[in-house]
Amino acid sequence: MEILQMIIVIAVLLLLVKPVGTYLFHIFSNEPNRTDRVFGKIENVFYKIIGLKNRSSMGWKKYVFSMIITNIVLVAVSYIILRLMGGLPGNPNKIGNMEATLSFNTVISFMTNTNLQHYSGESGMSYFGQMAVITMMMFTSAASGLVVAIAFIRGITRRGEGLGNFFEDFIKAHVRLYLPIAVLVTLVLVGLQVPQTLSPTAVVHSLSGVEQQIPMGPIASLESIKHLGTNGGGFFGVNSAHPFENPRPITNVIEILSMWTISAALPYTFGLFARNKKQGWIIFTAMMTLFIAFLCLTYFSEKAGNPVINQLGMDSSIGSMEGKEVRFGVAQSALFTTVTTAATTGSVDNMHDTLTPLGGLAPLAEMMLNVVFGGKGVGFVNMMMYAILGVFICGLMVGRTPEFLGRKIEGREMKLIAIAILAHPFIILVPTAISFMTHLGTDALTNPTYHGLSQSLYEYTSSAANNGSGFEGLADNTTFWNVSTGLVMLFGRYISIIALMGVAGSLASKKLVPETIGTFRTDNKLFAGILIGTVLLIGALTFLPVIVLGPVAEFLTLK
């Protein structure tokens, strides 16, 4: 039954990929279609309000510039709100202003779609803050990432017409995708008992006669976009493990599919743009293969349990339950963990710090690779980066100029890709090393020896991959951690976006090379294998040593 329920969720996802991928294509192909009738009028009003008179296509630099400027404005306004929220309306629980470095960390975290949280929602965020900053940024950061991925796809599949208009794409992503689906998912979640209210914390006398405070708030509306936008920041400190955020197994399934579907549909959308659906499915297959391998690792490790506890002699057949909820058990927890780190969401329905060593290795490795589906934007685009790298390596081996989708891959693209590939391990490993050189870093570790290394490593990996989950024992609300992870999140998001949009801009301006019998095909099973091989090879070369020092050493010494 446990394995069956995971297979059913994956099967439902497979059924959703084609319709959702097609819908995404209709939204962003900018050709007239049926959805215009419903949404066209709303969009025209929005274009008027924002003063967008000219919807012409932009070059890659202008596109990225527009995105970054918009992000800067959102960050500035949000920072001001967090610093002043104590005195603003919508604060029935009388929560104070947020401290400066924590506000810095929080706005960067939500703007970069990371949602690393060094505050706890129930005690550190007013309802107005939860809505106007957190919920709002969950929409805008997801839309920012998604439209970058779309612009990248346009760049590598179309010629010479620019990458699209950022503001038009940005508004469309909200109006046609995130807002309508978010309202729908919100209502379904409320029906399944996720609270949605503006009343303050309830105080009750419990059955055993003590006073119990029960915080509530506008939870469902945050919960839906948190997953649809692969954001992951919880209303409460324990995120989707909290019974109000995720009250039943079926809400767990809905949250999993919400965060997974759009990411998983992007390769199909790419196939439609490239007029080669098979190419899209090959990318999808490579992602799904890696995903299933990681899911098996987590599930079977958690099911086997923690040997330290098993040897005490009680009935531990249900697996490791430390840090897990009874309603989810091992299967729903393992599936959620693997999806949330694949789709770079970062919400958790169990505590990752308490996972068995190899069970915790899987989410860590998925974030290090950062290509298994991936969240809005960077995930899919990163996989394309490895695809181009794979083509390049094969080209070198057979001694001909590498081509991808009919375009020659040359020095300029490879330099940009090298920057993006090297930046990721650099901003993970260097800060981790620094955190061990100062007591500012080591003081935060709450678990001894090897697992302590994993805690710091996980925090920076999660920041760099814009995931946002954590080995949450880490006492990370200090100036050192707020600032260092804030910077890692910034670099993790924007360096790769700029480099890869540069690649897209460069490829868009190239002449098409006619396909011949000697062309290296990228839409067959062989290429799926090459792609997986490239990802694993690069990943192992960069991260294996530190993985051995952390989770593997913990696994080998755990008796």
């Binding site: 329920q5 929409f139 400190g237 002699g313 169990n350 678990n447």
Partner: protein
């Protein structure tokens, strides 16, 4: 590299203006209108669920939320999972002990000793592991059916209710997997204890 040869480009000045106006628009639409409309619809369609699924005892007093676990130290009640925050819902969380952390073993051994003292007649090999491990949220409202059944003999002795009656009660309050397949079978400890107090009257 000349990629930006697209006609009628917006000037950088107007990009700033459009960026500012779209940010303000989206703060209003996504940050204020969307959550408020959602709240309105939720309160209209699902008033009980939207307000925390509160439960009342037989005399109509609200005693908590069926979704939020409570602390039952009294051995004559069914007990829930270990909670490092003592089910204080004002916060949420767990110890976050790694499997290799010696503190984890220490805490588990304390729970085991306590269990053995209160339930001397139950074979230890039949005690499910969810009873002595900390839940993720610290507020887990459920235990596994086996964990409830393991407590029957203790409660039966303390309350002088027959074991069969208690077992029937546990079975009645056992919730199946969602749609018959998702998640795990579970028992809501608060609801079970409410029924237990009724039975004892």
């Amino acid at each position: 590299m000349k990629t930006s040869v697209v006609s009628n480009e917006q000037s950088n000045g107007s990009i700033w203006a459009v960026a500012l106006r779209s940010s303000l628009l989206l703060i209003v639409v996504c940050g204020i209108v969307y959550p408020l409309v959602s709240t309105g619809l939720a309160q209209l369609i699902f008033p009980s669920q939207a307000n925390g699924s509160m439960v009342k005892d037989s005399s109509g007093n609200v005693v908590g939320s069926e979704l939020i676990g409570q602390s039952f130290k009294d051995p004559s009640f069914f007990q829930g999972r270990v909670s490092s925050i003592d089910n204080d819902a004002a916060g949420s969380g767990s110890n976050n002990y790694a499997p290799s952390n010696p503190e984890l073993l220490k805490r588990v051994q304390e729970s085991v000793a306590q269990w053995k003292k209160e339930n001397p007649e139950v074979p230890f090999s039949q005690v499910p592991v969810d009873l002595i491990t900390n839940s993720g949220s610290g507020l887990d409202p459920h235990i596994s059916p086996a964990s409830a059944l393991a407590q029957v003999s203790r409660i039966s002795a303390l309350r002088t209710i027959s074991q069969d009656q208690l077992k029937a009660l546990v079975t009645k309050y056992t919730e199946g997997r969602d749609l018959g397949v998702f998640g795990e079978e579970r028992v809501n400890v608060l609801k079970l204890n409410l029924a237990l107090t009724e039975l004892s009257k």
